[in-house]
Amino acid sequence: AYKYLNSLCYKMASIKHKNTKRIEGLDKNVWVAFTSVAADPSIVNLGQGYPDIPPPSYVKEGLAQAAMVDRLNQYTRGFGHPTLVKALSKVYGKVYDRQLDPFKEILVTVGGYGSLFSTMQALVEEGDEVIIIEPFFDCYVPMVKMAGGKPVLIPLRLVGYVSSADWVLDQEELASKFNSKTKAIIINTPNNPIGKIFSRSELQAIADLCIKHDTLCISDEVYEWLVYKGHEHVKIATLPGMWDRTITIGSAGKTFSVTGWKLGWSIGPEHLIKHLQTVMQNSLYTCPTPLQEAVGQGLLRDFELMGKPDCYFTSLALELEGKRDRMAAMLRQTGMTPVVPEGGYFMIADVTALNQDLSHMGDDEPYDYKFVKWMIKEKKLASIPVTAFVGEDSVKQFEKYIRLCFIKQESTLDAAEAILKSWNKD
C-alpha cells in the first residue's frame, strides 16, 4: 500500500510540474528532429542553414583581439554594446538614408531569432492576430502562439516555373486576411525557404494594407545582403508611412557567416523598440560582449567598403551566386525542378518528376518528409522538407518540394553533385 501511495504521489507531483499553457503543443521542432540525423559525417548535409565555409578572417581576428581586453570579457550595455550599436546606426543609417539613434532605435539580440522573440513578446498578446506568409521560417507560428496570438496564414502561389519571383501573393486574398484584430504581419525578404525577394510594388501593397488597418509590420531581413544580380532588396520600413510601424530584423550570423555567434538586431522607431528593450531586460539582459565588439568592428570595416566589390556584403553574394547556379544545374540534371532564388542561401526543388514511390513509408507524413528521410537513408544527402514551413491547409500545395542550402564549400557541392549525377544509376 505504501509503494502504491508513493508512486501515486510521484504521479501527482508530475502533474503539478507540467508545462505552462503558453508552451502547450510547442515542443516539437523540425530542427531538433533533422539536425541529429544529418550529424552523421557520411551524409552530405544540405539541410540546416549554416555555412561550412569559414567566416572572413578579419571578423575572427576581431574576436581574438576583443577577448584580450579585460573589460570586453565583462558585462556591457544591456540593449547593445556601444561599439556595435554605433556601427549598426552608421551602416543602416546609410541604407535607410535616415539618422538612426543607436541607443533608442536599435536593440541587439541573441540572433535574428532573439529579435523575433522580443518583438512577439513585446507586441503580441491574446486577442491579436498575426498574418504570416507561407512558406515561413518555422519559428514564426510557435512564437505567435506562445505570445497568445493567433497566426493567420496566407500562401505564396505559383504563377510561373522558373524562379522565386514566380511565387506571389494573391492581392484579394491578402486583403481579406486583414481585420480589426490584426496586430501585425510578418514578412521575410529575402524569403526562407523560397528565396523570393519582395519587389517594391509587392511591399507597397502590403504597406498600404498595414496603414489602412493600422497594423505593425515585422520584417525579417536576415538575408538582406544575399541578393543576386538583377534584383534589389527593398526595406519596407523605408516606404512612406512605414517607419513608425515596422520592426526590421537583421543578423550578424547571416551577414558574416557566423551563425554560431548568435547576434542579431531589431531596428525601428523608439516607441516600438522601447517595448522590445523591456522584454530584453527581463529575459536575458545582455548579449555576449566580445562577440558584439567583433561584429561592430567588422561592420565598421565593411561600412568603408560599401558599394565596392571587396565589401563582404557584396563579395559573399557574388560567391554564392555561382554556387546557386551550380546547384540549380545539378538538380535539373537529376530531373528535379529547382526554383532559382533571387536571394538568400536556400533553394527549393520540386521532386515530382522523379516519380519516387514512397508508399512503403506509410501514410502519416507529408510526401516531402518521407522523401527527405528516404534521400538521407538511400542517397546520403540531407535536405529539409518544405512543408515544415507551412500550415496544415497548405501541405498539399508544398509537399513535393525539398529545401537545400548552398552556402557550402566547393568540396561539399562536389560530393552533392556526385550523388545527384549517379541518382538514376541505381
Binding site: I23, D27, Q74, G260
Partner: protein
C-alpha cells in the same frame, strides 16, 4: 485629422502587450548609465575588473581558431562538449548520475535560465515565494509569466554582536511555513545570496526542502556564486537533499564561475521531466547559444574537474583572493563610518549608511528612497558607484530597507583610495 495621422504612419492603437506592463524600470539600466555619465569608480554592478584566468582565455582563443564549426550553430540545448563535462562535474558533487542530454539546458547566462524556468513553469494564478532581499529580476520575471509573488523576508536575528555577518540574517520557520499555499508553484532561493552574501546552512535548506516536499512545490535554486564562499563556509546544493532532485531546478553561471560575465553562458540543471519544459521555451525564444564561448567553458570545466579540490583549482584560488579583498573593504567602510555586513559568500557586501549625516540636498531625487538618493549623491559628488539595497526589495517593502548600500569587492583596485 485621423486620416492624416494614419497617412503620417503614426499608430493610434495600444501597441505593447500587457505582460510587459510594470516591468519597464530597471535598476541596472538606470545606475550603469549614471556611473558611466559621471565616470564613477564602479563598485556597483557585479563584474570583476580583472581578467578571466589565463587558461579560460586560452581556451576561448583555441575555440575561435578551431575550424568553421566553432562559428556555426551547435546543439540547441547545449554544446555537446559542455553539457557532457557539466554532467560529469556536477554528478560528482550532487552525488547522482546527471544525464547531459536530458538534465541540462545551456542558456545565455543564468539570467536566461531563470527566464526559461519561469516561462516554463509559472502560469497565471501560480504563486512564487521569493525571499527578500532578492536579485532584482526574480519579481519582474514572475510578473511577466503572469504569476504572483509571495514575499518572505530574511530578518536580523536577535542578539547579534556589534560586527554583523550575513549569517545573522535568517528565515523565521513559522513565517516560511505560512507562505506555502495550495497555489504555491515554486520557491526561489539564492545561495550564496545577492546582495547579502548569506550562505544557507544545511538546516535552513532542510527546512525549505521539507516544505517543498510537503506542498509539492518546485524549488528554483540560483547558485551562480556557488564557488565563492569564505571563512570555511560550505555551499550546500538543495538539489542534493533527499526528495529534492526531482523538484529542483539549479541554476549556474560560467560568467561568475570563471570571472567572464561578458560571455553570458549559464545553465539550468534538474530532472528531465522539468528540464524538457525549459527546453521548449528555449527553442521558441533564442534557440541556440554562442558556440565558441560554450566550447571554452567546457575546456575550463574539464581543467577544473582534473584539479578539483587542489590548490591549483581556480575554484580554490578565487575565493582565497576575494576573502582578503572582502576584509579590506569592510575595514575601509568602517573607517569612514559605515557599518558593513560581512558576507559569507558571493561578490557583494552591504553596509549600513545611517550613521553618516550627509546633506542630500538634491531636488531631483527628493521623492526617492533614502538609499537611492545616497547612491546618486555618492556617484555625483564622490565619483563612486554603488547600488541601493532597497532595489532588491519589492515595492511593498522598499520603505523598510532604505539604509543600506551594496558594494562589489571583486575588484583589484585599492578600496581605501576611493574614500
Amino acid at each position: 485629422m485621423i486620416f492624416s495621422l494614419i497617412m503620417q504612419g503614426n499608430m493610434s492603437r495600444k501597441l505593447h502587450a500587457r505582460r510587459i506592463e510594470g516591468i519597464d524600470k530597471n535598476i541596472w539600466v538606470e545606475f550603469s548609465q549614471l556611473a558611466a555619465d559621471y565616470k564613477a569608480v564602479n563598485l556597483g554592478q557585479g563584474f570583476p575588473d580583472f581578467s578571466p584566468p589565463h587558461f579560460i582565455q586560452e581556451a576561448f582563443c583555441k575555440a575561435l581558431n578551431g575550424g568553421f564549426s566553432k562559428h556555426q550553430y551547435t546543439r540547441a540545448f547545449g554544446h555537446p562538449n559542455l553539457v557532457k563535462i557539466l554532467a560529469k562535474f556536477f554528478s560528482r558533487i550532487v552525488g547522482r548520475e546527471i544525464d547531459p542530454m536530458e538534465d541540462i539546458l545551456v542558456s545565455v547566462g543564468a539570467y536566461q535560465a531563470l527566464f526559461c524556468t519561469f516561462q516554463a513553469l509559472i502560469d497565471e494564478g501560480d504563486e512564487v515565494i521569493i525571499v527578500e532581499p532578492f536579485f532584482d529580476c526574480y519579481q519582474p520575471m514572475v510578473m511577466m509569466a503572469g504569476g504572483t509573488t509571495c514575499l518572505l523576508d530574511l530578518r536580523l536575528k536577535e542578539g547579534c554582536g556589534p560586527v554583523l555577518s550575513s549569517a545573522d540574517w535568517v528565515l523565521s520557520p513559522e513565517e516560511l511555513a505560512s507562505k506555502f499555499s495550495p497555489r504555491t508553484k515554486a520557491i526561489v532561493i539564492n545561495t550564496p545570496n545577492n546582495p547579502l552574501g548569506k550562505v544557507y546552512q544545511q538546516e535552513e535548506l532542510h527546512m525549505i526542502a521539507d516544505l517543498c516536499i510537503k506542498h509539492d512545490v518546485i524549488c528554483i535554486s540560483d547558485e551562480v556564486y556557488e564557488w565563492l564562499t569564505y571563512d570555511g563556509t560550505k555551499h550546500v546544493k538543495i538539489a542534493s537533499l533527499p526528495g529534492m532532485w526531482e523538484r529542483t531546478v539549479t541554476i549556474g553561471s560560467a560568467g561568475k564561475t570563471f570571472s567572464a560575465t561578458g560571455w553570458k553562458v549559464g545553465w539550468a540543471m534538474g530532472p528531465g521531466h522539468i528540464l524538457k519544459h525549459l527546453k521548449t521555451v528555449h527553442q521558441n525564444s533564442v534557440y541556440h547559444c554562442a558556440t565558441a564561448a560554450q566550447e571554452a567553458v567546457a575546456v575550463g570545466f574539464q581543467r577544473e574537474y582534473d584539479v578539483f579540490g587542489t590548490e591549483g583549482s581556480y575554484f580554490q584560488q578565487l575565493p582565497k583572493h576575494l576573502h582578503e579583498k572582502r576584509l579590506r573593504l569592510a575595514d575601509c567602510l568602517k573607517s569612514v563610518g559605515l557599518k558593513p555586513v560581512l558576507p559569507q559568500g558571493g561578490y557583494f557586501m552591504i553596509a549600513d549608511i545611517s550613521n553618516l549625516n550627509v546633506d542630500l540636498a538634491d531636488p531631483s531625487t527628493k521623492d526617492e528612497p533614502y538609499d537611492y538618493r545616497f547612491v546618486k549623491w555618492l556617484i555625483k559628488e564622490k565619483g563612486l558607484a554603488t547600488i541601493p539595497v532597497s532595489a532588491f526589495f519589492s515595492p511593498e517593502h522598499k520603505d523598510e530597507f532604505q539604509k543600506y548600500i551594496r558594494f562589489c569587492f571583486v575588484k583589484n583596485g585599492m578600496f581605501c583610495s576611493y574614500f
